[in-house]
Every structure is written in structure tokens, then in C-alpha cells.
Symmetry: C2
Subunit: 213 residues, 2 copies
């Protein structure tokens, strides 16, 4: 399988964690979102994903899957062990709920260039204030909802898709200088995740397209 992705994209990082957690080998294909106007807009990439977004998973037979949530659900179905979505139907639902707080409730608002470009260039607005508003709000929802199920991780004592979505979101929050100290439950769980090799290996700084120091 080939993963088209970008080192610093939070949605790409989610998929890399899931692949590492399940020890699924894959070929890393870098799509530089900034260089030369954005490689995601090249015709050959748009032919695979009309939305010009990463990540995109290309299977061995050439079929593709876009949207990080769809990709991680696919990985969970094809490689069920070790699971990132274990438990009864309600627990699985709550894992997905927490992941969606990030996926549809936060990330779209920090998307670059689609969202932040419009805020800055068309509306002449303060895109930094915009990001801080929506990221702070979303992390607050996540913190309050997590209290009900949190153990060592967001839902119980094993990592789940909820954690896979949260860790890259906290990294993005810091990039945008969002104060994260108020989210003590999330920070405690993030530290537990960072101790796991799968999360560490998938970190942006360790990817082949990350700038060398």
C-alpha cells in the first residue's frame, strides 16, 4: 500500500499512527502541500483525489481511499488486531464520537489553505484569532466529553481511534499558539500516547519529508 501524505498534516499523522499501531508496512509518498503552489493540485494527484487533500491510501490493486476517518476504519476492518476500536457497540460509538469532535469539529477550521486562506485573503480577517477560537472551543468539548470515559487513554486503558485523532490535534494547537494548559485530561493522555512507539514513529519530525534541522 502507498500512503500519500505530508509530514505536518494532522490528518496524515492519524493514518500513520494507525498503520504503525497495526504494524502494517507501507510506502511513504510525500505530497508537499506548499512547494510549487501545492503538489496536491497536480493533475495526476487530482485524478486520484478530486478534493486535492491528503492523506490518500492507494491499495495494491490501485484503488484509493481518501478521508482519514474512512482510511482508519478500513485499516481497522482489514487489520483488526491490535484493535483501535474495541468494545461493545456503545463504546465503539463513543470512540468515534470523540474522534469526530476533532475530525469534523476542529480540523476543518484550521485547514490550510482552504479555510485560513479564505479568512485571511477574502475576509481580511485575523486567521490566528480564528484558529484559536475554534481549536480552543473544540478541545474544550473534547476535554469535557472525555471525562466520562477516560482511563489511561480517552476511552479506557487502551489506545483507540479517539487518541489517534487527539494527539495530532494537540500538536496543531501548539503550532497555532493555542494555550493547551487548561486541557489537563487531554495532556495527561497525550503523554501516555507519546510513550507508545506507534505514536512516536508517526510523529511529523520523523517523516522523510520533514525539514532536516
Amino acid at each position: 500500500m502507498r500512503l500519500y501524505n505530508y509530514w505536518r498534516s494532522s490528518a496524515s499523522w492519524r493514518v500513520r499512527i494507525a498503520l504503525a499501531w497495526k504494524k502494517v508496512p507501507y510506502e511513504y509518498r510525500a505530497v508537499h502541500l506548499v512547494k510549487e503552489g501545492g503538489e496536491q493540485y497536480r493533475p495526476e494527484y487530482k485524478a486520484m483525489n478530486p478534493a486535492s487533500q491528503v492523506p490518500l491510501l492507494e491499495l495494491d490493486d490501485g484503488r484509493t481511499i481518501a478521508q482519514s476517518m474512512a482510511i482508519v476504519e478500513y485499516l481497522e476492518e482489514r487489520y483488526p488486531t491490535p484493535s483501535l476500536l474495541a468494545g461493545d457497540a456503545w463504546r465503539r460509538a463513543r470512540i468515534r464520537q470523540l474522534a469526530e469532535v476533532v475530525n469534523s469539529g476542529i480540523q476543518p477550521f484550521q485547514n490550510m489553505p482552504a479555510t485560513l486562506g479564505y479568512v485571511k485573503d477574502v475576509l481580511k480577517g485575523d486567521e490566528t484569532a480564528w484558529v484559536r477560537h475554534f481549536v480552543t472551543r473544540g478541545l474544550g468539548f473534547l476535554e469535557k466529553t472525555a471525562v466520562e470515559t477516560a482511563g489511561t487513554f480517552l476511552v479506557g486503558d487502551e489506545p483507540t481511534l479517539a487518541d489517534v485523532f487527539m494527539v495530532p490535534q494537540l500538536y496543531a494547537a501548539r503550532r497555532f499558539s493555542v494555550p493547551v494548559e487548561p486541557f489537563s485530561t487531554l495532556l495527561r493522555i497525550e503523554a501516555a500516547c507519546n510513550d507508545l512507539p506507534a505514536f512516536a514513529e508517526a510523529h511529523p519530525d520523523r517523516q522523510p519529508d520533514a525539514p532536516r534541522p
Copy 2:
């Protein structure tokens, strides 16, 4: 089960379609998003969903699930027949991908009051132009991606979660006066969906909290 929802909310409508398709009985609990500053902000509702959003599914034992994607996945697991997510792992992935183009790629940008309120009140921007930009863009991605799998419905010849997410999105597009004529594949499929009793029953106008003509 009780569904906390609002007649005109597109995310609420998605869940109503899934419930109707699977013929699952439920109690309709209206949460008026505008009246008295928004019933979703009442303390008793925030205790169930800190994000103050609809829909919310409350199970018989009092446990809750928020986020429409998490709810419909739960319904699919608990009531697998008739399915809205049938097929092999790739087909299921593509269904979820198309649903996410709406869920995380369009709807967050038209969310009222969180998104449109900020655009209008804080940025003093044209919220109508904003909505048209993001909805047109997202429907374009959906149309182009659908071509690969479309039959009578978005993925093959039976309705799936992809259609469940698309139909309320087209309704929302018209509310915001977005021209939908360019999306001929989507419109053809929408007409097929509207012929199905489950989609018709779940329509906003047929809900108990819809304004009487």
C-alpha cells in the same frame, strides 16, 4: 431510544433517515436551536452533550452518543439489516469517504451559529458568500468522486450512508441559495433517494417541530 434533534438540522436529518431505513422506533425530542437563545445551551442538555449540538441519541439505559457519524455507525452495528454500509472493505471505505466529504468537508462551514456567526459578527464578513464558496466546493468534490462508483445511488444500486449524508446537504445548499444544477449526478441520485419512504419520512417538513404552514 430518544433522538434529540431539530427539524432543519442536516446532521439530525441524517440520523432520522438511518432510523427510518432500519425501521427502528424512537422518541422524537425537539431541541430548538434558535428559540430563547437556543435550547441546546440549557444546562440539562449540555450535561448530555458538552458541545451543545444536535443530534444526540440517548439509549434506553441513559447512555448517550453525539456526532451523527458515530450515531449512524452505531445504528449500523446494532441493526445491521437492512444495511447502509454493505460490501467489501474497500466499498465500505468509499461509502465512508463520500459521507465524510459532507460531514467534515462541507457541514462544519455552514454550521449556525458557531461558524456563520463568527464570520458575520466577528469578521464582519459576508456569511452568504462564505457558505456558497464552501458548499459549492464540497459538492464539486462529491460529484467528481461519485462518478467512480455511482449507480442508482452514490455507491452502487442500493442506498448507503453516502446518500444519507448527501440528501440533507443538497437541501441545505438550496436554503443558502447555492446553485445546485451543475451537480447532475448528485441531483439524479437525490431524486432516487426521495422516492424511498425512509428519506421522505425523515424530511424536515414532516417533523413535529417544523413550523406549520
